[in-house]
Every structure is written in structure tokens, then in C-alpha cells.
């Protein structure tokens, strides 16, 4: 059903353009008005579309908007037709709401947080640009349009991480994000191409129908695996880059160098979820290859556990949250990897609220602590910044998965789904489900632990900060607190749209499951017992994690924490150093690459271009100049000598008798016929010919042709001397001939 969907990404783009062109001259208030207004307007349109129009259109594929016919190449079965068109169905609609609503809240927050920033307009321009690009990504109806948005958010991520680019570290972090993304994008592109080659289309609906009917994508491709497997794996590589999974997650912790609103919006709520969205969109293709889904799930689960462990020992507020994001994304991928697409997207939704809330709290706390994020120096902030504390408290409970907060429902769905999944049965990979489930359980325990650690170290006990900082601790202004509260509300209540009502025999309570049916297919059926067991287990684990953290860190650094640090110093250091993965990458990839480029520089630039092409050309010209210099002598006597030599040469060549280059000889048995005429124009000169037949006989005559009979067969060299009697000049021509 057609609808003006293009407004949704267009409004933020317009905002970005206006801000980039004129923002510097505007007052702060105007900038905020334009930026927040653009996103708010987009939110209005999105909400309007979602709530009033979408319900009718849901069954027929949602709302569409075909803006422009972009590519139309070739014809017949290999034709490529890509349009710039948008589609809002249940999946993209939900994400639109998340992006515009949370985007708006963060814009408002940032207007207060970035108040003292000189480059105000540029920041908001980038933020708007990001929102626009993300909306394109989500609303895109085909892979190329999604890729445009994909790259766009990558670009904005780079721009915003390196926003304070005058500091080298920030610029490097931006670079790292972009480059790591790019590596993933390579996989994405390959997957896209492969998919097009075997399905003939790039449009999502058509891909889904191709995947669900026919075996176009099941043909074997490489290593005995079908096309679908490779497509999924390649696309997933792109997702590991964009969504910070193993092995390409390394950019996300560094990205904390950017302003906190950026971390909240991009690296918590929206951009990093693009990978999950992509997998959900192409669920039809993924379902064709259980092996690929297994890879997705395992990578997700491993990432979840690995990042959680690193989070145990981080001392920077935002870094803890960064690794937490990586870990939660792992949960999401584990969810979609086990076939539980509904749960994966549900967790995306709840995570957006509580993670954005957590990050904005981080901003608030750092604001209070005069810009420092070092939790070893915090503590006791509960009484000092109550509003922030309240929001953090709610979001903390949500992420730990305590009952009835949003995280509880979504995380449980994923864990239960992992153990109950049936999609691996056909491929003989049943163990994957259990393996993933166990990892997720451990990761959930870890999540509870490190988040609680964070809570206790920052908000409980007494302050460990110095006097100067303590003086300045104050609550954030209203413009920052407002969004915080709204996010907390979402974190608290958001879970209720996805209650697993099936457990209590009220499946209609699961609003989300129903909602996604037209897009993601029927929701996974989880046996009641499994559901209940794991619900109880999750709660128990969450409680354990919180309690453990309390034991270690309740009210500050407690004895157990000191003991561990004392007994296992090396291990603690390793964890704090994020297992030295960055150093590993540096040694394996970056240093050799750098050496290679230095070598190539030396070879191509220094030698090839500088020496050979530039200096070489100069040297050649120089040599020729030196040689040519001898013509200009300034010596009249030598000039005259050259004159005389020239005339003599001219006379010599003009007076030579014409003779052929090669004698024309006809051999007939023992006799030969020799023709010594020059081919072409005959000269009127009277010439004498002298023939020497190499058998002791010679003939002199004025005719150029002669016949001669040899007495014996053999090889002879016939010599002809042409003489011009008038000038006295002569020329000689020889040729070997064989006579039989």
C-alpha cells in the first residue's frame, strides 16, 4: 500500500543539510530546534504510519513507497532492477519507531549535554545525518538500498566517534571503527553478489519468495555447502563488523572516545543492531541453511560470554557498557541464530531502551564527576544524583533480567529458545542448541555480575573521589533528565508487549509474536516445561550474579575483590586488558601490512616514480642534449667541413648504380637465369654488369639478364657487380644458389 514513507528519512536529511550549510551562523536554540524538530517530525510520520496505516496493510506486505527507479541493467533472466523504494512492515516499522523515538530523546539530551561544545551545529548535523541513514537502512526494500544506509551509518559513526578530532586518539578510534566495518562490508558485498547471482533479485520480498519456493539457493556452491550457506555466512561477516561480534568487535570499546550521546544512539540503540535486523529480514534464506544459523548462533553466544568476562575488570564506566553492548548483541544473534527471530528482535527492542538509558546515565554521571569516567574514583552517588540513580537502577534491573522488567522477558525468550530449538535436527547439529544455551546462561550470569559491580562501585557506599571533584557533583539539568526518565519507563514496561503468554495458555498475550507473523513467520513453539525451567533458572542466575557482585563490591571494594586481585594478578590484568586481542591483531595484521606498504612505497614511489620516471626522463633529455650540442659548435671551419662532407655524401649516394637488394635467380636443372635489375623504376643510365659464377667463369655485358649453365651440381655463390662507367662507381650483390 503506498504511503509517503520517504519523508521519514528525508526529514532528518533535510535537517542535516540545513545544519551543515547554515548551522554555524545560527544561535544554539535554532540549531536545537531544527535538529530535534527534524527527528520529531520523522517520528510523527513514522508513528502515524505505524499505528494508523500499517494495521490494514500488514497482510499485503505493509506500506511501500517507490521513490525512483535507480538501476535497470540488462534484460532477461540476468537483468538487475533496483529501485530506490521503501517498505514499512512490522519489522521495519518497529525499528523506525525505535530509531525516531529514542533518536529524538537523545537529541534532546544532547542539546543539554553538549552545551559547552563550540562545534554544536556540526554535531547535530551529523546526528541528523545518522538518523536519516539508519532509517534508509531499515526502510530499504532491497539489499542495495539497505547497503546505502549501511554505509551511511558507518560513515556517520566514523564522523561522530572522531568528533573531537583534534585529539589523535579520537581520530584513531574513528578510523578503527570505519576500517573494521569496512572489512565486514566486504563480506556483505560478496554475499549480496552471490545472492543476486543465484536468485536473480535483490528485493527482499522476492528473495523471500525465491528462498521459500524452489531450490535455486540450495545448489551446491563450494566445499559441498549450498549457495544459501555461503550467502548467509558472507552476510554474517558484514554483521560481525557492523554489530561488533567476534572477531570484528574491537572497534566498539574504542568508540567510547566519542561523545556520550553518540555512544547511546549509535552504539547501543541503533547502528549496532543493523546486523540483527539484516538477519531477521533475510530469515527465509537463513532458514535454508541450518549450518549457517549454527555459525551465527555460536558466534553470538561466544561473543556474549567473552565480552561479559572482559566486563568484569573494566574500570571505565563507558567501557563496561561497551562490552555489555557487545555481549547483548551476542544474545540477539544467538536468538536469531537458533531460529527464534521474534525473540532476537524483541531483545533488540528492549535493549535499545535500557542500554540507551544506561549510556545516558553514564553521561549524566560523567557530567557530575567533571568529565571523568573512572569508576575506581566514584561511589556514593546514590544520594548525590538521585534522578540519575533512579534511572540507572531501573535499567540495571532490566538488563539483569529481573522479573517483569523488559530484559526479563526478552532474555528468557532467547535462552529458552536456544534449548528448545528444532531447526538443527535435519542437519544433525542438535548439540548446537544446547551448547549455545549453556553459553548464554553463563553470559547471563556474567551480565548480572558486571552490571551489578558497576552499580555498586558507582552508586553505593561512600565517595572515593577527591575533594575538588566532590564539590562539583550535581544533578544534570532537566533537559537531560527528562529523556532519561522516559527511557527508564520504556525499560521497565517495554517487556509487556512480548509476554510469553503461551506458557499460561494465553498465547494472545504475546502481542509481538502475533505482530511479527506476517514478516517473520510463525513464532517458535517452546514446550511449556522448557519455558518455565529456564525462566526460573534465569531469575536464579540473575539473583546470584547480583549477590556475588554485592559480596565483592557492595559499598565499595570489599575484601573478596582485594583477595582475587591479590591472588591472581596476572589473570586480572589479562582480563582488564581485554585479553590483549587488539595487540594480537596489531601483530598479525597491522604491522605486516604497514611493513608491506612501506616496502611498496619505497619500490613504487622512490624507485619507480622518482628515480626511473622523473629523473630518468630528465637524464634521457640530458643525454640527448649533450649529443645534440655537438651540432652547435660556433666554429665556422667545422661547419664548412660538415658542408663538404655532406656534399660528398650526397654525390656518393646519387651516383651509385641501381642494383637490386637480392638477385632474382631462376634455377632450372643445371642452368640458372640471373636478373640483376632493380625492382621498380628503371633508370636510364647505361650500366655495365659483371657476373661471376663461382666456377671460374665470368661474363661482362651491358644487359642485366644472363643465362648460364653449370657443369656440375653443387652450391655456388653468384656475384654481380654493377658499374656506372661515367661516374666510375659500382655496387656488388651476392647470392648463394644450389644447382642439381
Amino acid at each position: 500500500m503506498p504511503f509517503n514513507l520517504r519523508l521519514i528519512p528525508l526529514l532528518p536529511f533535510i535537517g542535516a543539510t540545513l545544519l551543515m550549510l547554515f548551522g554555524r551562523r545560527w544561535k544554539r536554540e535554532t540549531v536545537v530546534l531544527v535538529a530535534c524538530g527534524a527527528v520529531l517530525a520523522a517520528a510523527f510520520v513514522a508513528f502515524d504510519a505505524f499505528f494508523t496505516r500499517l494495521p490494514e496493510a500488514a497482510e499485503v506486505g505493509g506500506l511501500t513507497d517507490n521513490v525512483w527507479s535507480w538501476l535497470s541493467v540488462g534484460s532477461g533472466p540476468t537483468a538487475l532492477n533496483v529501485d530506490l523504494s521503501f517498505r514499512m512492515d512490522a519489522l521495519s516499522g518497529l525499528l523506525c519507531l525505535i530509531i525516531t523515538f529514542i533518536g529524538f530523546l537523545i537529541h534532546v539530551y544532547a542539546s543539554g549535554y553538549m552545551e559547552h561544545e563550540p562545534d554544536y551545529a556540526r554535531f547535530f548535523a551529523y546526528l541528523n545525518l545518522f538518523c536519516g541513514a539508519m532509517l534508509v537502512l531499515v526502510l530499504g526494500d532491497s539489499l542495495p538500498v539497505m547497503f546505502v544506509g549501511w554505509e551511511g551509518v558507518g560513515l556517520c559513526s566514523y564522523l561522530l566517534i572522531g568528533f573531537w578530532y583534534t585529539d589523535n586518539a579520537n581520530a584513531s578510534a574513528g578510523k578503527k571503527a570505519f576500517i573494521t566495518n569496512r572489512i565486514g562490508d566486504f563480506g556483505f558485498l560478496l554475499g549480496m553478489f552471490l545472492l543476486f547471482q543465484y536468485s536473480g533479485t535483490m528485493n527482499f520480498r522476492e528473495i523471500t519468495s525465491v528462498a521459500q519456493s524452489g531450490s535455486a539457493l540450495m545448489q551446491p556452491f563450494w566445499l559441498g555447502q549450498p549457495v544459501a550457506f555461503w550467502v548467509c555466512v558472507l552476510l554474517f561477516i558484514g554483521a560481525t563488523g557492523k554489530s561488533a561480534q567476534l572477531p570484528l568487535y574491537v572497534w566498539l570499546p574504542d568508540a567510547m572516545a566519542g561523545p556520550t550521546p553518540v555512544s547511546a544512539l549509535i552504539h547501543a540503540a541503533t547502528m549496532v543492531t543493523a546486523g540483527v535486523y539484516m538477519v531477521a529480514r533475510l530469515h527465509a534464506v537463513y532458514l535454508l541453511s541450518p549450518a549457517a544459523m549454527a555459525i551465527v548462533a555460536i558466534v553470538g553466544a561466544l561473543t556474549a560470554a567473552f565480552a561479559a568476562i572482559i566486563g568484569f575488570a573494566q574500570n571505565d564506566f563507558k567501557k563496561v557498557l561497551a562490552y555489555s553492548t557487545v555481549s547483548q548483541l551476542g544474545f540477539m544473534f544467538a536468538g536469531v541464530g537458533t531460529g527464534n527471530f521474534d525473540a532476537g528482535v524483541f531483545h533488540l527492542f528492549t535493549h535499545a531502551f535500557f542500554k540507551a538509558g544506561l549510556f545516558l546515565c553514564a553521561g549524566s554521571v560523567m557530567h557530575a564527576m567533571s568529565g571523568s569516567g573512572d569508576i575506581t574514583k566514584m561511589g556514593g552517588l546514590r544520594k548525590l544524583i538521585p534522578w540519575t540513580h533512579g534511572v540507572f537502577f531501573v535499567c540495571w534491573l532490566a538488563i539483569c533480567g529481573l522479573p517483569f522488567f523488559s530484559g526479563f522477558f526478552s532474555k528468557d525468550a532467547i535462552i529458552a529458545g536456544a534449548f528448545a530449538t528444532t531447526i538443527y535436527k535435519d542437519a544433525g547439529l542438535q548439540w548446537v542448541g544446547t551448547f549455545v544455551g549453556v553459553l548464554l546462561v553463563l553470559a547471563a550470569l556474567g551480565t548480572a555480575f558486571y552490571m551489578s559491580r558497576l552499580y555498586f562501585l558507582v552508586f553505593s557506599g561512600s565517595s572515593r573521589a577527591d575533594e575538588e571533584t566532590k564539590h562539583h557533583i550535581h544533578e544534570s539539568p532537566g533537559v537531560m533528565v527528562g529523556p532519561l526518565v522516559l527511557l527508564a519507563v520504556g525499560a521497565a514496561l517495554g517487556g509487556f508487549i512480548g509476554i510469553p503468554g503461551a506458557v499460561i495458555d494465553h498465547p494472545e498475550l504475546n502481542l509481538l509474536g502475533h505482530f511479527f507473523e506476517p514478516v517473520l513467520g510463525a513464532e517458535m513453539v517452546i514446550p511449556h516445561m522448557t519455558e518455565i525451567i529456564f525462566t526460573v533458572l534465569s531469575v536464579a542466575l540473575a539473583g546470584t550474579g547480583v549477590w556475588l557482585a554485592y559480596v565483592f563490591y557492595g559499598g565499595g571494594y570489599r575484601e573478596p575483590a582485594h583477595q582475587v586481585a591479590f591472588r591472581f594478578p596476572r589473570f586480572v590484568a589479562l582480563v582488564r586488558d581485554k585479553f590483549r586481542v587488539d595487540e594480537l591483531y596489531d601483530a598479525i595484521f597491522i604491522r605486516p601490512l604497514r611493513k608491506l606498504s612501506e616496502w611498496l612505497f619505497w619500490l613504487a614511489d622512490r624507485i619507480l616514480i622518482d628515480k626511473i620516471l622523473v629523473e630518468g626522463v630528465g637524464a634521457v633529455v640530458d643525454v640527448f642534449g649533450r649529443i645534440a650540442r655537438f651540432v652547435q659548435l660556433g666554429d665556422a671551419q667545422r661547419y664548412m667541413a660538415a658542408f663538404a662532407i655532406g656534399v660528398a655524401a650526397l654525390v656518393f649516394f646519387a651516383t651509385r648504380p641501381p642494383a637490386p637488394g637480392e638477385l632474382k635467380i631462376n634455377v632450372e636443372g643445371l642452368s640458372v637465369q640471373v636478373d640483376a635489375r632493380r625492382p621498380g623504376r628503371q633508370s636510364p643510365r647505361e650500366l655495365e654488369y659483371s657476373f661471376d659464377f663461382d666456377d671460374g667463369r665470368e661474363e661482362n655485358q651491358t644487359a642485366p639478364e644472363i643465362r648460364h649453365a653449370y657443369r656440375q651440381p653443387g652450391k655456388y655463390t653468384i656475384k654481380v657487380t654493377v658499374t656506372d662507367p661515367k661516374w666510375g662507381t659500382s655496387t656488388q650483390v651476392k647470392r648463394r644458389v644450389e644447382v642439381q
Binding site: L633, D635, Q637, R638, M640, A641, A642, F643, A644, I645, V647, A648, A649, V651, F652, T655, P725, K726, W727, G728
Partner: protein, 209 residues
């Protein structure tokens, strides 16, 4: 009609003198000796011209060439008289010798050709062939323009020669004298300002050269 023995002998004598004189000229170190031998060569040449029935040209050759031009050479030789150590120029000698060799080659070719190519019978010449009146008639009628042009050329050559070889000593001396006079007048005006007006007039007239 083939030439007689006498004619052969005369020609041989004259030709020998010409060539010998020429070679002698070119190989002398002392320029005066060279000029003298060149004069001798020209005399022999004049005789050769006479044997070619070019009587007027023969006399002109003696008058102008041997007389005027060679005297000119003598004057210059006397101005620039220097003995030189080695007669042959060394710069790029190989190349120039190659030029000489080319010349010799050309002569050889020529000799080979001329024997075959040139006709041998001569027309009967009128009595007045090559006499003053005959050549004068030709010069003032058919060759009037070249004649006038050549006189103009001689004028140009005279003026050019004078200009090029002019000594600049007098000029330099005159300029220096003018400078001195100017300085003196400046000093005079300093010492006697009352006479400034008068001095200005004369200064304006005599200051420019």
C-alpha cells in the same frame, strides 16, 4: 682542333704556377710571405684569364685583386703581425680533415666525370670577345642594375669597414673629458653661487653630448 704543344706548355706553366702558388700560400707561417705568394698566384691567374680570351678581366684581376686587395691585406698584416707557433688549428682537427678528404673525393669524382662529360670543340670567337669595349658595353646595358648594385655594395663595405674597425679610444677620451668638465662646473657653482644663472645656460648647452 686539338691544342698544340705550345699551348700545352703554356697551360702547364700557368697552371703549375697557380696551383703551386696557392699551395705555397696556404702553407706559409709568415703572413707576409703568404700574401706575397698570393700576389704571385693572382698574376698567374691573370695570365690564365688572358689565355681564355678574357683580356679585360685579366687586367682587372691585376689592378683590383693583386693591386688593391692584396695591398689591403698587407696593411692589415702589418698591423697584426704575429708569428704563430703551429700553423694548423687543432680544435676538431679530425672532423676538418674529414672535410678535406671529402673535398678530395669530390675532386676525384669530378675528374672522372669531366673527361667524359665536357665537350671539347670550341666555337669561333669574334675579335672583340673579352675586350674592354665589349665588356663595358655589356656592363652598362644588360648588367646595369648589378653594376649599380655592386657600387652600392662597395659603399656599404667601405662604411662598414670603417665603422667596425674604428678605434674607440677617442670616444672614450672625449666622454671622460666631458665628465671632467661637468664636475668642474658643479664645483664652480658651489663656490660661486652668484654666477649660477650664467652657468646654467652654458651648462645646458655644453652638458649634452
Amino acid at each position: 682542333m686539338p691544342p698544340s704543344v705550345g699551348e700545352y706548355i703554356v697551360f702547364a706553366l700557368l697552371a703549375g704556377t697557380v696551383i703551386g702558388g696557392a699551395i705555397f700560400t696556404m702553407t706559409r707561417r709568415n703572413p707576409v710571405t703568404a700574401v706575397m705568394s698570393l700576389v704571385g698566384t693572382f698574376f698567374a691567374l691573370a695570365a690564365t684569364y688572358a689565355s681564355l680570351s678574357a683580356h679585360f678581366l685579366a687586367i682587372i684581376q691585376i689592378l683590383v685583386y693583386a693591386g688593391a686587395i692584396m695591398v689591403l691585406f698587407i696593411f692589415v698584416v702589418m698591423i697584426l703581425n704575429r708569428e704563430e707557433v703551429a700553423p694548423v688549428a687543432l680544435r676538431g682537427l679530425g672532423f676538418r680533415s674529414l672535410g678535406v678528404a671529402a673535398g678530395i673525393y669530390l675532386v676525384i669524382i669530378f675528374l672522372r666525370v669531366v673527361r667524359v662529360a665536357a665537350p671539347t670543340d670550341l666555337p669561333v670567337l669574334p675579335e672583340t670577345f673579352g675586350t674592354v669595349s665589349s665588356i663595358g658595353d655589356l656592363l652598362f646595358r644588360d648588367f646595369l642594375y648589378p653594376f649599380e648594385a655592386i657600387s652600392l655594395l662597395l659603399l656599404v663595405a667601405v662604411v662598414g669597414g670603417v665603422v667596425i674597425s674604428r678605434s674607440h679610444k677617442k670616444e672614450v677620451a672625449a666622454e671622460q673629458a666631458a665628465e671632467r668638465r661637468k664636475i668642474i662646473e658643479e664645483l664652480a657653482r658651489h663656490d660661486f653661487p652668484a654666477l649660477a644663472d650664467n652657468a646654467a645656460d652654458t651648462h645646458g648647452g655644453g652638458g649634452h653630448h
